[in-house]
Symmetry: C2
Subunit: 201 residues, 2 copies
């Protein structure tokens, strides 16, 4: 069979389709688009990719991606180091930072417990969290794992592990999203919102 | 405001979000994923990107992306050069090649007519198509632009332009997709399928 797709294009399609959520068709569409545009844009993207890992490391305290160690959040004296928010991934940190409502530190687990995939406490940053708590400066741990089955399982595990360590344990409130019509809320969310109803006065 | 996202990561997110169908959130998700994986994978993708434009050019006959000129299709003596399929983009050529049902040559327009975007016949490869037809070897032109408003407008324009050039003009059949339940077909497709019904005997 004749090679219709030029090898250089085929290689890029194969590489792109390794990314999450990018199937073969999307990879082909992206690669064709990159090829149609000026080569300077492809080179800019190439250079951004090759320099990525060189300049970024994990903060040795909270394990977020950072150019400095400690990261800008851990190093910021205006932030409250006694309050630590535990999240699954660095992207969750960014989502919380965008709210402007959190002024503590973070702890990135880099995953969730998932026994089926062989991911136990040793595979995520649980031991380092224990060490931070044992160091004695933390007063409250806000567990902000996702409201998914593995996220909830990880939260339960952390609550069991930390309940007698002398720190307050809190979770993100669960309920009706802002601006959502109640009749469109799914019944589990609505049930949770009723059970955890707050005082309106 | 403190820069929470490391500049190298921010740059990659910005570059990725220039790709079609990749918004800021998807770009951030992809960039985080690339960062979590071995740096060798990012370097491989970078190298594929930087070598892309160097080795690929347009075939001077059909204008598809190719490492050689003419491309493997135009150069293949077993293919029928008297039948030329006109498509919008190189990706359409790949889709048709995958069917294994077409054994002629191609002509890539690299776009569709779109007066609102300032794209007239001069911006797509229409003149080169005329030159190929005038050279006298072509007997049939299969117009395979998409079944969209600009695709149909481009097809109409080509039909007007070529109707007295001594070549047969054909179009892809339009109708019910294979395996589709009729009750789920949209009414325009169903209407077209009825109007262009074929003899079943």
């Amino acid at each position: 069979m004749v090679q219709i797709v030029p090898p250089a294009l085929d290689r890029l399609i194969r590489d792109l389709s390794r990314l999450p959520g990018i199937g073969n068709k999307t990879a082909a569409r992206l690669a064709m688009n990159i090829l149609r545009r000026p080569s300077a844009e492809a080179r800019e993207l190439a250079s951004a990719l090759s320099e990525l890992h060189d300049s970024i490391q994990l903060c040795s305290c909270c394990f977020t991606f950072s150019e400095d160690d400690p990261c800008v959040i851990c190093a910021d004296p205006r932030r409250n180091g006694a309050l630590v928010c535990v999240v699954e991934q660095p992207g969750d940190l960014l989502a919380i930072e965008k709210t402007g409502s959190f002024h503590g530190h973070y702890h990135i687990l880099h995953g969730v417990l998932s026994p089926m995939d062989g991911i136990g406490p040793g595979e995520i940053k649980v031991e380092a969290l224990m060490a931070r708590i044992n160091s004695g400066t933390i007063r409250e741990v806000l567990i902000a794992t996702s409201s998914t089955v593995p996220g909830e399982a990880t939260a339960s595990f952390l609550i069991d592990l930390l309940h007698n360590k002398g720190v307050a344990l809190t979770r993100l409130a669960c309920g009706i999203p802002m601006g959502m019509d109640i009749k469109y809320a799914d019944r589990h969310t609505l049930a949770r919102a009723i059970e955890t109803r707050t005082n309106a006065e």
